[in-house]
């Protein structure tokens, strides 16, 4: 029996064991995920003249390090802004709204639209010729600047923060909130001392997702940022598609991924992720 209620022919049933089902998924991951990453490591090494790690020596030059630093900085900034906005929105949907399903639908709806199109929309909204900019007389310096990148990333990743936070808020026993109030706590104090600590798992989960996605962002800096807002994904893309420097692209990718993993591990040593996310 694989799926209850659905008859499965005998010859299939014998072949479809849980082991073979697992093998299918694992096989896919091995071919299209693990093997490519191993290729990446292989490519980042230089087997010609000039030393095995010469690609890494080039990657560790100032210009790339600044870009790497900027990527993590933008990622962190996006995470903070997204979490703050996402928490307020999730709180409203979870506790204050009478139309939860509808609002959750609205939150998820933008995920149906490609990032390119959404960034294009923001561009059009902030172009000098847009009615809004004409009306206000300024775009507040958002377009083609760091602000533009952060605005773009925040709008795009907001659902990834709202959903886990909403879920965490919904799983708080409402009696605990009532208990806090009857014990003499104001609404604000209840949010700080009861609701926030008990929804931390959602904040952490959303934060990690947004941080990883935002740090590796490629489109937002390309479409909404200025010349000095380039992020690491842009540099990697340029080095293999424009200068065909596979060695540099691979070593940058390896460095970026390693730093990201190290950051997560450091974070994990402060906040036990297994424990926090286990609550979700």
């Amino acid at each position: 029996m694989i799926v209850e209620g659905i008859p499965v022919p005998k010859f299939v049933e014998r072949r479809v064991s849980s082991r073979s089902l697992a093998a299918f998924g694992l096989g896919f991951l091995t071919v299209f995920y693990i093997v490519p990453i191993l290729f990446l490591y292989w490519n980042s090494l230089n087997f010609g003249g000039g030393g095995l790690f010469s690609n890494y020596e080039r990657a560790f030059s100032n210009i790339y390090l600044v870009t790497l630093g900027r990527s993590f900085y933008f990622g962190a900034l996006t995470t903070v802004v997204t979490l703050a906005l996402g928490y307020v929105l999730a709180y409203y949907i979870a506790f204050r709204s009478s139309r939860e399903k509808f609002l959750l639908g609205l939150v998820v709806l933008p995920l149906w639209i490609a990032y390119v199109i959404r960034y294009l929309g923001i561009q059009l909204l902030l172009f000098p010729s847009s009615p809004l900019v004409q009306l206000l007389g300024t775009d507040f310096g958002i377009l083609f600047s760091t602000k533009g990148v952060i605005v773009g990333l925040t709008t795009v990743f907001l659902p990834f923060a709202i959903l886990p936070i909403y879920h965490a808020l919904k799983s708080i026993d409402e009696d605990l909130i009532d208990a806090s109030r009857t014990l003499g706590a104001t609404q604000l104090r209840t949010v700080r001392s009861v609701i926030l600590p008990l929804s931390l798992s959602g904040v952490v989960a959303g934060g990690i997702i947004v941080f990883i996605l935002a740090t590796g962002s490629f489109l937002a800096p390309a479409m909404l940022g200025g010349p000095s807002d380039t992020m690491i994904a842009n540099v990697i893309e340029q080095s293999y598609s424009q200068t065909f420097d596979l060695g540099l692209a691979s070593s940058l990718a390896v460095i970026y991924t390693t730093i990201l993993l190290v950051l997560l591990m450091v974070f994990n040593s402060y906040v036990n992720l297994g424990e926090v996310l286990g609550e979700l």
Binding site: R181, T182, G184, A185
Partner: protein, 348 residues
């Protein structure tokens, strides 16, 4: 002292509480007793400030608190499922209310120690509530609700979900603690045994309306209507009509039931009534005697007594509590007698 005046609560079109008024004196243990959906929890939550009344007023120690937020009222609420904060230790749970009420650190320490002692969980002070048993968790929530010395302690079915022995232990302890702390208390339950054993005063509610208010004895021995008589305690029930006042008698399908003059007060001869006989007021007699006769359909041994069910004919089932040494078996033909002064007569 708690006063509830003409409290009415609508949820949309549904009337949960209807024009309810009552008063719990300083230090008194009051209970709201009724089946689920009778409005008892809504009433309690309105007193706590968690639900806004549609109409009516709530007064705590003489102050009108009707429009106040829960944190502005000095109340202690014990929830059905404890509602202890899982991210705080037992100590922090209790300290929370003390902090909010403005106790300084020294006083907090004193109160925490005192109330942990009172509910006998001092050894779990540094534990998380999630590490405790259900009974211990209830104790934490009781200590938490009492530590800052509220004007009134509200308990919302706090023994739900605990096993029988633990329920009984905690029941006695809550009563003991209440007497010791002398806190005005309002207890909500659907369990008549809890209500009868703990309360100074019971309010029986049904469909959001007060059915009767009185001491446990008054409620049990002198129910004011059929709902109360049925809800509190078991009875043998006989439909009937008042035959005469002198001698006081009631005609029932299985014969004429003798009663006393007082029980027929307010009933004219010929009016429809329902007769209630409590199981402990019935006793076994020799076959041939008594109005109630029939064959035993079930004998349930309950340790200190046995509950005997008798098919008295005409669809009437008699229930009797007898000593466990009594010699009755299923199928025996028996007769039952009772003291006419114990007959409860209520409007049909």
């Amino acid at each position: 002292m708690l006063e509830v005046e003409n409290l009415t609560k609508f949820y949309g079109d549904l009337r949960a509480v209807n024009d309810l008024s009552f008063r719990i004196e300083e230090g008194e243990f009051g209970t709201l007793l009724g089946p689920s959906g009778c409005g008892k929890s809504t009433t309690l939550r309105t007193i706590a400030g968690l639900v806004d009344p549609t109409e009516g007023g709530i007064y705590l120690r003489g102050d009108d608190v009707t429009g106040q937020a829960p944190n502005e009222r000095n109340i202690g609420l014990v929830f059905q499922d404890s509602a202890t904060f899982p991210h705080m230790t037992v100590e922090e749970n209790i300290e929370y209310g003390l902090k909010m009420s403005g106790f300084d650190p020294d006083e907090r320490e004193k109160q925490i120690t005192k109330y942990l002692d009172l509910v006998q969980i001092s050894e779990y002070r540094d534990h998380r509530p999630t590490e405790l048993s259900g009974g211990q968790e209830r104790r934490v929530s009781i200590a938490r609700a009492l530590a800052y010395e509220p004007d009134i302690l509200l308990l919302d079915e706090p023994l739900t979900g605990l096993d029988r022995v633990l329920r009984q232990d905690l029941r006695n302890e809550i009563k003991q603690i209440q007497r010791e702390v002398e806190v005005t208390t309002l207890y909500v339950t659907h369990d008549q045994e809890e209500a009868l054993s703990m309360s100074d005063k019971i309010l029986v509610l049904n469909n959001g309306e007060k059915q009767q208010e009185g001491t446990p004895t008054e409620i049990y021995d002198d129910p004011s209507n059929r709902f109360v008589a049925n809800f509190v305690g078991k009875s043998t029930r006989l439909p009937g009509t008042v035959a005469s006042h002198d001698p006081p008698q009631i005609d029932t399908p299985i014969g004429t039931v003798p009663t006393d003059t007082a029980s027929l007060d307010g009933f004219d001869p010929g009016s429809d009534v329902e007769v209630f006989l409590r199981p402990e007021d019935l006793s076994l007699a020799d076959a041939g005697d008594g109005v109630l006769r029939g064959s035993v359909t079930n004998v349930e041994y309950l340790g200190t007594y046995s509950e005997v069910l008798i098919d008295a004919g005409e669809g009437i089932q008699a229930v009797l509590h007898t000593s466990t040494s009594a010699d009755v078996d299923i199928g025996d033909e028996v007769a039952l007698t009772f003291d006419p002064s114990n007959v409860i007569v209520l409007e049909a």
